[in-house]
């Protein structure tokens, strides 16, 4: 019964999506107010139906209803409840349902919070959201229905891949999807603006918070995925430039660019058509990401079973969305009125540089990710493009980006004083050089690359602090005055400083952990010790332990000067039958000790892989700080009061709030 209810809700949602797409856009085009007024209730209806459908599937998972094929294939009665729930989106069909639900939630959010938007614009935005919804609902109903019945129903399910039974991975897809789908808002606003033929600062004021929301979720999702790979895969690495990782990283790069160009539209009324284009591209990359993950065209450690029919559908949908929106862009963009002028050496100029470099980076990742596909299709030659390619591209692109990132916020809008900004950043520059030299000395005058990373991280971190110090006039006026200035500084400005500082932390973590990590691989017998970095680890033997749905071989490594031993496991699951490696990690902000145990050699020894990774935690800590920056920026009062400019004037109580 629940299955039929869920399926029926899904069909109804498709019908509502058709109405939501066609009528409001038509109404806005013709100036028909009753059709325009149809948009918000349709969006709410859509959201309610998908919520119902999603609840039905969740209920089927929670009650282990094995008359539904999807539940049979991905769940098992012996699984802990939380993984029964996360099993809902741990598979192809369910994850699409989650995607559609999130899309509908965003659509409904426009309906609820969009009261201050011009009604025609709101109708168009909701209409475009409906259009994207049609694509996904059709896809689900035609090729990937999660509610298909299994006849006869088997007594128990096949279980969820044990490697996916993990709290990090339970949260990772929803985060990532909130990010991916969140960019649909920027996309819908972009298309609506093109249909309308008008882009103004009020438009950007609306797009920016939505992009920021999506960006926060995507950042969290990417970081979570990377952290999951680090502790779960047992390879000690945290980023593999795998196609599926790239699939989430490309929208992140484009989305970060969009976030910054939207600021220029909002503050200076410039870069309008570029921002529109970026919004289209960001969402297209999100769709492409889904295509890469869901179709299985690319060989990846993450890929799920693939089905060519699905790949073709998504590809066709991608062609319609990307092709259609770019065509619309080509027709309409020239009619957009160009906005404010600025010199190359200005805040706008710095943001343009940021956009160029980020867009180029996204394009190179795209090329590296898709190149094996092209080559295979054209010549039949199989290749893989691995980390060396991406590193060779990324480092030269990110270096000027980070260097400029230190100066950018010091420049004035319209016409900046670059030598002056440099002068004010002397202190940061000296610190950066010092950090690089110290690093060079510690590293035994080794390769120069780590030097660059250290210098850049220190440069960025210090310039953020210098900029903040100047803004607050720290140590130059009484502390109370600085405090007052801090309170008057807009939250969006705080957000910027925090997020940029997070970036510095991440770069620091990457550089230090990659430069000074040590790895030690050997067969160890109980009682034997080995030095990993500065730590002495003693193997204390291995025992067999019984878990809820697995048996594990658990090794124990004592760390000198530490009471709790490291206990890595290899687990053997029964449903489905599979082995996994559980690394044991002792994490501190200074360094991680990471232990993996392998098979017994039959002579009393066990293969053991041990790592010492200094400051590796900073990589994700930086990401957390970046998200925090995003959240602080979102709490800015100007975002809370919403779009219209006229209202903002009333709301700007303090003079400082107008600047920044």
């Amino acid at each position: 019964m629940t299955a039929e209810l869920g399926h029926y809700a899904l069909v109804l949602a498709l019908v509502v999506a058709l109405v939501q797409c066609v009528l409001p856009i038509w109404g806005a085009h013709r100036g028909n107010p009753s059709f325009i007024a149809l948009a918000p209730p349709a969006a709410l209806m859509q959201c309610a139906l998908l919520l119902l459908s999603f609840s039905c599937l969740t209920a089927a998972y929670v009650t282990s209803d094995f008359s539904i094929i999807n539940v049979v294939q991905n769940s098992h009665s012996a699984k802990p409840l939380i993984y029964k729930i996360s099993g809902v989106w741990g598979n192809h069909e369910g994850s699409l349902l989650l995607w559609s639900l999130i899309l509908a939630v965003f659509g409904a959010a426009v309906a609820v919070f969009g009261g201050n938007l011009p009604p025609a614009l709101r109708a168009r935005v909701i209409g475009v959201q409906g259009f994207v919804g049609i694509g996904f609902l059709l896809f689900m109903l035609l090729t990937s229905n999660p509610f298909l019945r299994a006849i006869p129903a088997p007594p128990d399910g096949m279980g969820l891949n044990p490697i996916l039974q993990d709290i990090g991975l339970a949260l990772h897809p929803p985060m990532l999807y909130l990010g991916y789908v969140g960019f649909s808002m920027a996309f819908s606003f972009a298309i609506a603006a093109l249909l309308e033929g008008r882009v103004d600062p009020a438009w950007a004021r609306w797009v920016r918070p939505w992009t920021l929301v999506a960006w926060c979720f995507l950042t969290a999702g990417v970081a979570l995925g990377s952290y999951w790979a680090y502790y779960e895969l047992g390879w000690g690495g945290w980023w593999f430039w795998d196609p599926v990782e790239n699939a989430s990283f490309m929208p992140w790069l484009a989305g970060t660019a969009l976030l910054h160009s939207a600021i220029v539209v909002e503050k200076r009324d410039a870069l309008k058509s570029w921002t529109i284009l970026l919004a289209i591209l960001t969402f297209s990359l999100s769709l492409l990401g889904t295509f890469i993950v869901r179709s299985g065209v690319l060989n990846s450690v993450h890929s799920f079973a693939s089905d060519p029919a699905r790949g073709v559908f998504i590809l066709a949908f991608l062609v319609v969305v990307v092709g259609g929106s770019l065509t619309l862009f080509a027709i309409r963009a020239p009619t957009l009125k160009p906005g404010g002028l600025f010199s190359a050496m200005s805040r706008e100029g710095a943001l343009v540089l940021n956009n160029l470099l980020l867009a180029t980076a996204a394009a190179s990742v795209l090329l590296g990710t898709l190149y094996p596909l092209f080559l295979d299709a054209i010549t039949g030659q199989k290749v893989s493009v691995g980390p060396p390619y991406f590193n060779a591209i990324f480092i030269p692109l990110m270096t000027p980006l980070i260097a400029a990132l230190g100066i950018g916020p010091m420049l004035a809008w319209k016409r900046g004083d670059v030598p002056g900004a440099f002068g004010r950043l002397k202190f940061a520059f000296i610190l950066a050089v010092l950090a690089a030299l110290v690093g060079w000395y510690v590293n035994g005058f080794g390769p120069l690359l780590p030097l660059l990373g250290l210098g850049l991280a220190m440069w960025l971190g210090a310039s953020v602090l210098v900029e903040l110090g100047e803004r607050l006039k720290l140590f130059r006026v009484p502390f109370g005055d600085s405090w007052g200035r801090a309170r008057r500084t807009p939250r969006a400005t705080w957000g910027m400083s925090i997020a940029h500082f997070g970036m510095a932390l991440t770069i620091m973590g990457i550089t230090v952990s990659e430069t000074w990590k040590t790895e030690s691989l050997q067969v160890m017998r109980p009682g034997e010790s080995v030095m990993v970095g500065p730590e002495r680890l003693t193997f204390q033997g291995a025992t067999m332990v019984q878990g809820p749905n697995y048996v594990a071989q658990r090794g124990s490594f004592a760390v000198a000067g530490n009471t709790t031993p490291l206990e890595p496991e290899t687990r053997r699951f029964s449903s489905p039958q599979m082995d996994t490696t559980e690394a044991a990690i002792h994490s501190t902000p200074l360094a991680d000790i990471y232990a993996v145990i392998g098979e017994a050699d039959g002579k009393g020894g066990f293969a053991a892989r041990l790592y010492w990774k200094p400051m590796v935690l900073w990589i994700w800590l930086g990401a957390v700080v970046m998200v925090l920056g995003g959240i602080v920026s979102l709490s800015d009062r100007r975002h809370r009061v919403g779009a219209p400019v006229r209202r903002e004037k009333k709301a700007a109580v303090t003079p400082a709030a107008g600047k920044a």
Partner: protein, 146 residues
Amino acid sequence: MTRKRRRLYLVLSGMAALGMAVALVLTAFQDNLVFFYSPSDVATKQIPPDRRFRIGGLVEPGSVKKSGIEVAFTVTDNVNVIKVVYSGIVPDLFREGQGVVAEGKLNGQGVFVAREVLAKHDEKYMPPEVADALKRAGQWHEGEKK
């Protein structure tokens, strides 16, 4: 600055970024494309010893020998075989008779020294390259992969 000049600068800097990216991509591709060969390819093509590439096929049953952390095994496409040595812990799903992909170089004796043995998340999963290698060797039967 006039609007035209600003646009010119934008276009020029865009072109510069693009040019830089193309140059980077080309140099990076030259050194870092990793080709995939089946055991039959390795037998017929002359692959220079210091070229990094990937091989794929099935782990020949009974061929896996471990001593300490050194693992030696044979990869087969049921026509030709190639000896592989690897030093490290093989992934969880590494089993005799299952598909495997390894990345590394040939040494002077025609033995493939793997730097990495790639893990797959799913025991039912057959790496597409391996399936393709088996197909080309005429050793693939639909439905076999389950």
